[in-house]
């Protein structure tokens, strides 16, 4: 398809050049014409059942569905012609003949295509007498995630095609015929064994399929949106974060053709809830075997600075720093410079749980990868792995156990959550006189061994970049300010460096990324703006060690 030369056609008098194999509907988007459609979806097969996208094409006696019409050289398309407009208006009227009066109680209201198209392309007065509607089953429980309302359905078959072509579960099907046609599962059984079924809620253009998790929690027009990346595996599916008043209500996959198309897995979809769980909201200290107490940042960082200065003066190699594949490139880069330039220790690693070896491995056929961290590839590109001959995480733990490590500085919680040998970690860390942890979430195992816990900002509370398994650098936006007193680790590291009379770059993720791209060959040539909403691949460069 891609080998054929692009073709030039005319749509409403505007000339447009589109790749061969594109349909007229997509070509129209290039000149700013949004053709209404229910059944067409960019990542599903062409169906042509809803007839909302009818356009006139010169030389064709009848109107043609633009979603099923490939562009041809010299084609002359009329979208705004009165007969096409009238046909689309009448088609909408057909689709609404049996539609229930549900808007006030429908969770889709506000992001419903029937509503939008009525405003944009309908605008007619109803001719349907009251009481003649064909009714179907409402509130059909389709398992853990989906609620089906059969009479709201416009039979576009997007969900049916999704289950057939993408997830392969064939869970949703058409049943019966004519005016009683409906979608559903065999005997209305709950859907099981489809880890991507949440996507049918997103692609349903009306309120037929709604999310059990999200429905009735929030009206969509109150939500604010930010663009981010899912952090639950190395794929880095692009997501839209919908939030209001400091609470995230849902993730919605954001179309990125190069990464996740329009999809995301249910596991990632649910992970928004984890962001708010058991947050560490202020720094905490435990000094000389005493009890934990809350501290302010100045007190906590004074303790950290004193311990680091003492250990550095005695022997820089008695300090070990563990970076995190759940932190952004910017934070890890600052952490690496903190370890190597400010502290002068060679003991730096990020490979705490062996996940970096699985980055490329797929867990299923579609999107999920076995590596549960979003940024192992970024850490590798930053060259955070110790140089040959130096100790890795296992060596650091061994040194801890041998009592050689005086300060262990840890970003993130993977040392406790990612490893199976929790006893060994606890045993080794018990020997370290000062363990500093940047933690966004409280964890009893950390309380048992740490001495300073620094409240870390979660991913949605800062901006930055991850590198996914494909080597694609992707931005995530700051959705909301950090919870309570939490601070992004990069800013804290720069603060501590300042107290140690050294200097590290500070600023927002965008500023740090600019500094990183200027300083690090792996990221050379990339710019924050250039990454855009969909990211850009890493320039092909061999990972090198940062710092001196």
């Amino acid at each position: 398809m891609s080998e054929r030369p692009p073709v030039t056609l005319t749509i409403d008098g505007k000339s447009v050049t589109a790749a061969a194999g594109t349909n007229v509907l997509e070509a129209a988007k290039l000149v700013g014409i949004r053709v209404p459609n229910f059944c067409y979806h960019a990542d599903l097969s062409w169906e042509g059942s809803c007839r909302m996208c009818l356009v006139g094409i010169e030389g064709r006696p009848k109107l043609v569905p633009s979603c099923c019409e490939e562009v041809r050289e010299g084609m002359v398309v009329h979208f705004g012609r009165p007969d096409a407009e009238e046909a689309r208006r009448r088609q909408l009227e057909f689709l609404l003949v049996n539609h229930p009066l549900d808007c006030p109680i429908c969770d889709q209201a506000g992001e419903c295509k029937l509503q939008d198209y009525y405003m944009e392309h309908g605008g007619y007065d109803s001719r349907m007498p009251r009481g003649l509607k064909v009714h179907k089953r409402k509130v059909v429980d389709l398992g853990d995630r989906i609620m089906l309302d059969k009479e709201r359905c416009v039979l576009c078959s997007r969900c049916v095609r999704f289950c057939r072509e993408v997830s392969g579960s064939h869970a949703l099907q058409f049943f019966t015929r004519g005016v009683t046609t409906e979608i559903g599962t065999e005997n209305n059984q709950p859907i099981t064994g489809d880890d991507y079924i949440g996507n049918v809620v997103d692609i349903c253009p009306v309120g037929a399929l709604t999310s059990k998790d999200f429905r009735f929690k929030q009206r969509v027009w109150f939500l604010k949106s930010a663009e981010s990346v899912c952090t639950q595996c190395a794929t880095g599916c692009n997501v839209r974060v919908d939030h209001k008043d400091g609470t995230i209500y849902r993730y919605v996959p954001r179309r990125n053709e190069a990464v996740n198309k329009s999809w995301m897995c249910d596991y990632g979809r649910d992970s928004y809830a984890l962001l708010h769980e058991a947050r560490v909201t202020m720094p905490r200290l435990r000094l000389d075997g005493g009890a934990w107490h809350d501290a302010d940042w100045d007190e906590a960082l004074t303790v950290v600075t004193v311990r680091l200065a003492e250990a550095k003066a005695a022997d820089p190699a008695s300090i070990a720093v563990i970076a995190s594949a759940r932190q952004s490139n910017e934070t890890n880069w600052v952490a690496a410079r903190f370890a190597r330039e400010v502290l002068g220790t060679p003991h730096l690693d990020y490979r705490v749980d062996g996940s970096q070896a699985k980055t490329a491995e797929m867990q299923d056929k579609l999107l999920r990868r076995r590596d549960p961290h979003p940024n192992n590839a970024g850490c590798a590109a930053l060259g955070l792995a110790p140089a040959a001959g130096m100790g890795d995480v296992e060596a650091i733990l061994a040194a801890c156990e041998a009592g050689k490590v005086k300060v262990l500085y840890v970003l993130g919680l993977e040392l406790w959550t990612g490893r199976s040998d929790t006893d060994r970690v606890a045993r080794a860390l018990a020997k370290v006189p000062c363990v500093v942890v940047h933690a966004a979430h409280a964890l009893p195992a950390v309380d048992g061994v740490a001495h300073v816990i620094l409240a870390d900002a979660e991913v949605h509370e800062q901006e930055g970049t991850f590198v996914n398994a494909q080597g694609r650098v992707q931005r995530f936006e700051r959705v909301m300010p950090p919870a309570a007193m939490a601070r992004p680790a990069a800013a804290v590291l720069a603060d501590v460096a300042g107290r140690l009379d050294a200097s590290l770059p500070a600023g927002d993720g965008s500023a740090l990324f600019a500094a990183l791209a200027a300083a690090h060959p792996s990221f050379a040539g990339l710019t924050w703006a250039g990454l855009g909403r969909f990211g850009a691949p890493l320039p092909q460069a061999t990972p090198q060690t940062v710092g001196s």
């Binding site: 000149v31 609404l96 808007c103 405003m119």
Partner: protein
């Protein structure tokens, strides 16, 4: 399709045609303004557009002062009034550079308007001040400096005007969050030496070395009728210098409008000139109607015109009534508040509200008038002349009143034009402009009424103009009542903007969806910009409306007549008796809600 998918701005290849509506190029070039500017400043012209009948020219920033001079003095153009300056932040529009300073010029002789866009640098938005040419630029540029951070080079007094001195940032920039708040710690004085006023200082040594008594009038002074503050330096009883400070009632109406749907903006417009709230409703509705090309049914136009004239009478009554109270003539106040009550009853019968009515809607009015409305209106109109006559007899030829008002607070015609005055104040200074006559909108075409103009420009003239205008408004009302209420709907049937009737909402899905979308999302005008203006009781109320195609105004700039009237205050007060201050202020009819927005 969520609102996130709504395209913003135009993708047109020609950057000079941002709003995408091309008029016949030859006709556009033949326009005198375009022709003269091309001939005189060809190199400075970056683009010419005609959208919804508004001529808009984009000018290179370096040439603004010269272009403005040509616009002002060229015999074929003579744009003698700088009506308004609006900042515009293009951050969320598909357009560079980020900032535009937008000027609206008006020619009182040719009755023509032109809009000038000046693109400004993203990092350091700066452009020459127009204060050497137009006095109205003084406050207008201070406002753009305050709300957008534009630097106007050679402005004599560039400091914040609507927000507090301790405000951080520029609130109308698109990256300024609407809910950000600031801690404000203390009060400041425009006279640097007077900041310690709370320590009991009452005098100030001026630049000439003379120590003068300092009087602080307002912000809570009974005669300011609103929160205004004038700091005056006195030589005996003569005001030698003053500093007018406003912003005490600033709500950032324009920022609020950007976060609300078009219909939700109506209650905010009520609170501009709240003495005649309905006129603001109509002014705003007309801007949206111009942008969306909505036809308003004759019945709605009739209702609007009738109520606007009643509101004008009421507004003038309050102005004159309170003005006379301030001069000690309390009886007149009662004579004018009594008929005002009758008008309120009439307004109440239409929408249930009295002061802040929110009765206007895009495409018409919110509800139909009740049965017997015309008779009710006729009754009220017939009561008015008696009360006007009472005040006329008590005040107009009263010696004390004449002595206090004749020759005080004089603004001559030249200054009135330069300050951008309009409405009754402008007409009292010989500025023969009335938009109802000069640019007939709504129902004013075909109505017979005179436009009273006086030339003295003093407090007495302003009083007289208002007294005469009330009679003219009554003439208009009687003509409308004689014609009878037109049949038909009170609001357009256009599904884009008007709510369907409730019985249809409950009866069919189309009307339900229509209602739901209009209430929850509002309507989305096309991408574009318009300037729409009406003659309110205080003068030319203009709405400069920019739409990015979404359900909320991208930018809504109010050209508040009180703002431009009051800008002349310090100049007017110089050399006046301090006791005349209240009489002068009262006659300007400054409404703080409109002044500060």
């Amino acid at each position: 399709m969520s609102t996130l998918d709504t395209p913003r701005g135009s993708t047109a290849a020609d950057p000079s045609k941002f709003w995408g509506e091309a008029k016949d190029a030859a006709a556009l070039e033949a326009d005198p303004t375009v022709r003269v500017l091309r001939a005189e400043h060809g190199a400075a012209m970056l683009g010419v557009e005609d959208f919804r009948g508004d001529l808009s020219v984009t000018i290179r920033p370096d040439d603004l002062l010269l272009v403005a001079q040509t616009l002002k003095i060229h015999p074929e153009l003579r744009y003698d009034i700088l009506a308004d300056i609006a900042g515009l932040d293009n951050l969320l529009l598909d357009r560079t550079p980020r900032f535009h300073s937008v000027y609206h010029f008006y020619s009182t002789t040719r009755k023509k308007r032109v809009r000038v866009h000046v693109p400004l640098d993203d990092a350091k938005p700066a452009v020459d001040s127009l204060t050497p040419l137009y006095k109205s630029a003084n406050w207008a540029e201070r406002e753009a400096y305050d709300l957008f951070g534009f630097d106007f080079v050679n402005h004599p007094d560039l400091r914040r005007i609507l927000t507090h001195e301790e405000f951080v940032g520029h609130p109308l920039r698109k990256d300024y969050p609407p809910d950000r708040r600031h801690m404000l710690s203390r009060s400041y004085s425009a006279y640097p030496g007077l900041e310690a006023e709370h320590e009991g200082r009452h005098t100030l040594v001026g630049a000439d070395g003379i120590e003068r008594v300092y009087v602080n009038l307002g912000p809570s002074h009974p005669a300011t009728h609103g929160t205004l503050r004038i700091q005056a330096l006195l030589d005996g009883e003569i005001i030698v210098d003053s500093k007018t400070e406003i912003g005490y009632l600033h709500r950032c109406f324009e920022k609020m409008a950007e976060t609300h749907t078009y219909t939700q903006v109506f209650p905010f417009t009520d609170r501009l000139n709240y003495i005649s709230a309905f006129n603001n409703n109509v002014g705003f509705a007309m801007a949206v109607e111009k942008l969306m090309q909505v036809d308003v049914p004759p019945r709605a136009i009739w209702i609007r015109t009738l109520l606007m004239e009643f509101n004008r009478i009421m507004d003038h009554m309050i102005c004159i009534g309170t003005n006379l109270v301030d001069m000690g003539a309390l009886t007149n106040f009662w004579y004018f508040f009594n008929p005002r009550e009758r008008i309120y009853e009439l307004i109440e019968s239409t929408c249930g509200a009295r002061l802040t009515v929110s009765y206007g809607r895009v495409g018409g009015v919110a509800q139909d008038i009740p049965d017997g409305f015309a008779e009710h209106a006729r009754r009220v109109a017939n009561e008015m002349p008696e009360f006007i006559a009472y005040v006329d007899k008590l005040a107009t030829r009263n010696v004390i009143f004449q002595q206090r008002t004749r020759g005080t607070g004089v603004v001559n015609r030249e200054n009135a034009i330069s300050w951008g005055w309009s409405g009754p104040n402008g007409r009292a200074s010989g500025l023969d402009v009335d938009l109802r006559r000069d640019a007939p909108y709504g129902g004013y075409d075909g109505l017979e009424f005179a436009v009273p103009v006086r030339t003295d420009g003093d407090t007495f003239s302003r009083y007289m103009v208002r007294m005469q205008e009330m009679h003219e408004s009554l003439r208009i009302i009687h003509q409308l009542l004689d014609r009878g209420v037109p049949a038909g709907p009170h609001i357009t049937r256009d599904h884009r903007v008007a709510l369907p009737e409730k019985n249809r909402v409950y009866g069919n899905i189309e009307a339900l969806m229509n209602h739901f979308k209009l209430i929850m999302h509002g309507f989305s005008p096309p991408v574009g910009e318009v300037y729409s203006y009406t003659e309110t009781p205080t003068g030319e109320l203009g709405f400069y409306l920019v739409s990015d195609g979404s359900g909320k105004p991208y930018r809504l700039k109010v050209r508040a007549p009180s703002f431009y009237t009051f800008a002349a205050n310090d100049e007017m007060l110089r050399g006046q008796m301090v006791s005349d201050f209240v009489a002068i202020l009262g006659t300007l009819n400054i409404i703080a809600g409109e002044l500060d927005r």
